[in-house]
Amino acid sequence: MGKTISEKIFSAHAGRDVSAGEIVIIEPDSIMAQDGTAPLAIRAFREMGGTIPKYPERISFVIDHNAPSPSRAVSNLHGTMRGFCEGNDIRLYESGEGICHQIMVESGRAFPGGLVIGADSHTCTYGALNCFSTGVGSTDLAAAMLSGQLWFLCPETLKVRFEGKVRECVYAKDLALAMVMKIGADGASYLALEITGEAINEMNIDGRLTISNMAVEVGAKTGLMLADGKTLDFLEGRTERHFEAVFPDDEAHYVGEVLIDCSEISPMVACPHRVDNVVPVEEIDEIKIHQGLIGTCTNGRYSDIKVAADILKGKKIASGVRLIIAPASREVFSLALRQGLIDILVDAGACIVPPGCACCVGTHQGVPDDGENVISTANRNFKGRMGNPEAFIYLASPATVAASCLTGKITDPRQFL
């Protein structure tokens, strides 16, 4: 019988034929933790009797959730990470270098056919590069640092196909929200996704990462895509690793197929407090906006900042609105600076914060007030997510966020075409 991408990647790592449903003990190619999960992983590693990690060169730690540190308590946790990395020759990415998931793809630590674990649920993002990547907790991560291995259940696969032509002013985020709406918050639990279709082929790597990033919002283990010329171009000069793209067999077994017709998709908005509470922007009544956020591991990449800058160029955001921009990485920030995008955003009234997760995850850098509405490019709108359970979070594309900040209410970006 034919194999899915997941079955092939698991087979290659196990050195034997593996099918969905089997449990395997295999070695990940890369292991990642961020400052919300690494301190607990270090503690678990020591409690396991660990002294030195099996493959320190495969590990990376990233300070991004509270970056730079907002408090003494957090600084102490960062200090623990720094000490552990220094003592064990582990690569530490410091405050300002970027969001862990952007760093993993920029640094070539995720690659086609690879197997990556990260102590962060959005590790599924690198599926866009044809890499089986999935989130784990701190104790699993500690066990993997110690032994170099981890147990996995080889997942069944759900196919997601984006067909039809994407309409103007509709972006990867809108397709991702349409996917979440169609599948539901737990519709793909324990499954791998294979995401294909004309719209994906035509999309750039930034957009593909946006869609794979949201695989976990339907419960999926990872959101795999095929590698093509764009994937190889993106990885050029980023990794010296030998890798081979993995394609599914024609007769591979899938638990089902979800078809999404892009020609029917409008700019989409996920309303509070559920990611699958998605409606087309034109169906939203007048909702006043107090804060906008463009950034996060979903939509903080160069293309996202470019779309926002194109809409905001020469204009001012509405009075009473705060617009926070958090580039996904130093590389993204630097490119946006050199291209003049940051000037445009600052002139429009935006507040630029360092590359990182803080605002999205509610640690600092933009906690909303009670009763406020936020429109954000993030992937989660759970109550309390941005640090205040009395605030309301709407999720949308960078274009919709930029348009909404101009008018002060949730706005269809097609008005600014």
């Binding site: 400052d35 409690e47 104790t139 500690a142 110690l146 918050a185 419960g219 309390g384």
Partner: protein, 164 residues
């Protein structure tokens, strides 16, 4: 061994942000401190109502969202004896087993808030004394059973130093 405790009933899709909010979990590794804020954003009174040995009973997809292991740890440190749900999100489920927190998958529809439960973890049986019903939980993979029987992944790794 049979565990007895009251059911605290929640709905579907209880995410890890609700179990322990990001505004607390990034600040400390002190789980007793985090335990005081468990479930705070959806049920501010939960921690004061909870008695050690009680059970959290939920619908489908319990623990969805972030990979934060502080979620099962906060429940455990708050005194929750176990979570019984229709289904669990996968990262949370691994995390709870890895920390030795009992997690049973069964149809919780009939269980009501405040019911008295008797749970036999070895047999995977949940008895709702109040309603006089008995539920059988779904089996979990053998490797998870081994980890749970060792008391979690830390003691498992201390003993084996690798996966068997």
């Amino acid at each position: 061994m049979v565990l007895r405790g009251k059911a605290h009933k929640f709905g579907d899709d209880i995410n890890t942000d609700y179990i322990i909010s990001g505004r607390y979990k990034f600040k400390t590794l002190d789980m007793d401190e985090l335990a005081r804020h468990v479930m705070e954003d959806i049920d501010p009174e939960f921690h004061s109502r909870l008695k050690p040995g009680d059970f959290v009973v939920a619908g489908k997809n319990f623990g969805c969202g972030s990979s934060r292991e502080q979620a099962p740890l906060a429940l455990k440190h708050a005194g929750v004896a176990g979570v019984i749900a229709k289904s669990f999100a996968r990262i949370y489920f691994r995390n709870s087993i890895n920390n030795g927190l009992l997690s049973l998958i069964c149809d919780t529809e009939e269980i009501q808030d405040g019911d008295l439960l008797e749970v036999n973890p070895t047999l995977g049986i949940v008895r709702d004394i109040t309603r006089g019903i008995e539920l059988k939980s779904k089996e979990i993979p053998p490797i998870m059973m081994e980890i749970l029987n060792e008391g979690g992944l830390i003691p498992y790794m201390r003993k084996n130093m690798s996966f068997k």
